[in-house]
C-alpha cells in the first residue's frame, strides 16, 4: 500500500504509523465515564469507506486522515489532521 502524504508525496505504507479510526470526538472534561468508554474502546470498524489516522513518522511527522475502503484498500482522500480541524473551524 502507498499513501500520498499531502506534504511529502506518495510514500510506502511503512513510513507511516497507523492509529485506527479518525474522527472520534474526545469527550470534554465533564463528560461521563460511559462517554469515555465509548471514545476509548468502541469502534464502528466499518467494511467500506473509513477514515483512519496515520502518522508520517518517516517523513514530515504530520498526523494524516486517510479515507480508504477497508475492503479494497483504495484510497479516496488524504488530509492532514491539523488542516482538517482548521477547515472545520
Amino acid at each position: 500500500m502507498r499513501i500520498v502524504c499531502p506534504h511529502c508525496g506518495e510514500r510506502p505504507v511503512d513510513e507511516f504509523v497507523p492509529y485506527g479510526a479518525a474522527g472520534l470526538k474526545r469527550p470534554d472534561a465533564s463528560a461521563s465515564t460511559s462517554d469515555w468508554l465509548d471514545y476509548v474502546y468502541l469502534r464502528d470498524n466499518k467494511a467500506g469507506m473509513h477514515g483512519e489516522l496515520f502518522y508520517h513518522v518517516g517523513g514530515c511527522r504530520a498526523w494524516l486522515i486517510v479515507t480508504r475502503d477497508t475492503r479494497t484498500h483504495a484510497i479516496a482522500e488524504v488530509v492532514a489532521a491539523r488542516d482538517q480541524r482548521d477547515a472545520a473551524r
Binding site: 485506527g20 474502546y41 468502541l42 470498524n45 480508504r68
Partner: protein
C-alpha cells in the same frame, strides 16, 4: 462412517468408492434452538460441544463461504498455553488439554504435534518478563522451562549466535506447545458435529439479526430467514460487521495479518521458534514448508492481503534470526482478517441482547483456543451464563477496568 483400521482397509480394497461426504451440505431449516454464525474453527467446535456436552442438537452453523475458509484455514497453526495473566492461562491450558485428546474425541486426526514452542529473549529485562510468565504458567500447572543461551543453542543450533544485532540470551520453552493441522480442525469438528445432527450450511451468509423486545428471534440469510431461540456469533475477523446487525458496537478493529510458507524442504526446524527482538516466528509443517508470520500490517482492513514493505520487514527479522534461511524461498503469502480487541484478549459471553451470545476478539491467537473456545461458548449458550473459564472474557470488562492485557499495549489494538 467411523474411521477405523477396518474401514480404511475396506475402502482401500474398494478403490475408495464407499466414502460418504464428511459432512452433509445442509440447507437451513426454518427454526433451530441455536444458530451459530460462522463456520470457522470456533463456530464448528461450539456446535460439536453443544451437541456432545449439552445434548443440544437442533443446531445450525451458518457459514457465508465454505467451512474453514476463514482464519482457521489460514493461520500458522501454533498451539500453546504459555500465557501470563490469570484470565488467560487456565483457559488456554484447558484448550491444550482438549487438543491432547482431540483425535479420539472427534475420530479425526488433526495431527496435533507437540513439538515445543520456544520464545527467545534478548535482554535481561525480557528474561525476567519471561520468568514472570513461566512462573505464572507453573502456578497454573502448565509446563514451562526457562532456558539459557547454551540450552537454546542445543535445541535450535541454526540461529545467529555470533553476529546478531540483538543476541539471543535464552528462551522460554513450553514443550507441550506445538502445531495442529489447521484445515483438519475445521473438517474434523464439522464432521463430528454433523454426525450428532448439527446442520452445517455453507454459502449461507447471515445478513441481518432480528431482535424483538430486546430478544433475538432469528437471522436473515442469503438462504432466507432462519428462526432461532439463541444465536451465537463466531465470525472471527467479521465480528464487528455481524454484531452491528444487532446494533452492537464492539471494542474491536479488524486488521490483516500476513503469513507465509516456504518451499518444502527436508526436516530442518524441529520446534516453533519466536524471535524476541521483533515479531517473527516460524515452524515447519509436516509437508516440509516453513510456515512463518509476524506482526500485523497495522491498518484496518477487510481485504485478506497485505503490503510488500511488511513482507520485507518480516523477512529481515527472519534473516536476523536465522541467516540460513537466505537461499530458501517464499512459496506463498496470504493474509487473514482478525478481530483485534482493545486489550488483546478475546470476548466470550453474553451481550446486552437476550439470546445473543458473542465469541470474538481473538486477535492472532485464536486458533490454539479453538477447542476451549467452542467448549466454553457452548456452555455459555446452553446455560445462558459463562463458565468460570471464560467469565473473565466478558464484554463489559472494559467498563470495569478488568482488562486482560498481556502485552500492556493499552487500547491500541494494532499493538497487541
Amino acid at each position: 462412517m467411523r474411521y477405523s483400521v477396518f474401514s480404511l482397509l475396506a475402502q482401500a480394497l474398494n478403490g475408495q468408492k464407499g466414502w460418504k461426504p464428511a459432512w452433509r451440505d445442509a440447507s437451513p431449516k426454518d427454526e433451530y434452538d441455536v444458530v451459530i454464525v460462522g463456520g470457522g474453527g470456533h463456530g464448528l467446535a461450539t456446535a460439536h460441544y453443544l451437541a456432545k456436552e449439552h445434548g443440544i442438537t437442533n443446531v445450525a452453523v451458518l457459514e457465508k463461504s465454505t467451512i474453514g475458509s476463514g482464519n482457521v484455514g489460514r493461520n500458522t497453526t501454533i498451539i500453546r498455553s504459555n500465557y501470563l495473566l490469570p484470565g488467560n492461562t487456565p483457559f488456554y491450558e484447558w484448550s491444550l488439554k482438549l487438543w491432547e485428546g482431540l483425535e479420539q474425541d472427534i475420530n479425526y486426526n488433526a495431527m496435533v504435534s507437540q513439538r515445543g514452542v520456544l520464545n527467545l529473549y534478548h535482554s535481561d529485562a525480557q528474561r525476567d518478563a519471561f520468568a514472570r510468565r513461566g512462573n505464572a504458567m507453573r502456578l497454573n500447572g502448565v509446563d514451562a522451562e526457562l532456558l539459557d543461551r547454551a540450552a537454546v543453542r542445543k535445541l535450535v543450533p541454526y540461529l545467529d549466535y555470533d553476529n546478531a544485532r540483538f543476541p539471543v540470551h535464552g528462551g522460554l520453552l513450553q514443550r507441550r506447545g506445538g502445531t495442529v493441522r489447521h484445515d483438519a480442525v475445521a473438517w474434523g469438528y464439522a464432521r463430528a458435529a454433523d454426525q450428532r445432527g448439527v446442520d452445517i450450511c455453507q454459502n449461507c451468509e447471515v445478513t441481518n439479526i432480528r431482535v424483538e423486545n430486546g430478544r433475538v428471534i432469528g437471522v436473515d440469510t442469503t438462504k432466507g430467514f432462519v428462526r432461532a431461540k439463541k444465536i451465537g456469533l463466531a465470525a472471527a475477523g467479521n465480528s464487528s460487521r455481524v454484531a452491528a446487525m444487532a446494533g452492537l458496537r464492539l471494542p474491536i478493529e479488524s486488521h490483516v495479518l500476513q503469513a507465509f510458507v516456504s518451499e518444502g524442504v527436508k526436516p530442518l526446524i524441529d520446534t516453533v521458534v519466536t524471535f524476541g527482538a521483533g515479531h517473527f516466528y516460524i515452524n515447519q509443517s509436516d509437508k516440509g514448508g516453513l510456515v512463518f508470520g509476524g506482526d500485523l500490517d497495522g491498518y484496518n482492513s477487510y481485504a485478506q492481503r497485505g503490503a510488500l514493505p511488511h513482507v520485507e520487514h518480516l523477512l529481515e527479522e527472519g534473516m536476523a534470526l536465522m541467516p540460513m534461511l537466505g537461499r530458501l524461498r517464499v512459496l506463498r503469502s496470504w493474509g487473514g482478517i482478525m478481530d483485534m480487541s482493545m486489550d488483546g484478549s478475546p470476548i466470550i459471553g453474553t451481550t446486552p441482547i437476550d439470546g445473543l451470545y458473542l465469541n470474538a476478539g481473538w486477535c492472532y491467537g485464536g486458533f490454539k483456543a479453538t477447542p476451549a473456545s467452542g467448549w466454553c461458548f457452548a456452555h455459555t449458550i446452553a446455560r445462558g451464563e459463562p463458565h468460570v473459564l471464560n467469565a473473565p472474557y466478558r464484554l463489559n470488562r472494559f467498563d470495569t477496568g478488568h482488562l486482560i492485557d498481556e502485552k500492556g499495549a493499552g487500547a491500541t489494538p494494532n499493538l497487541h
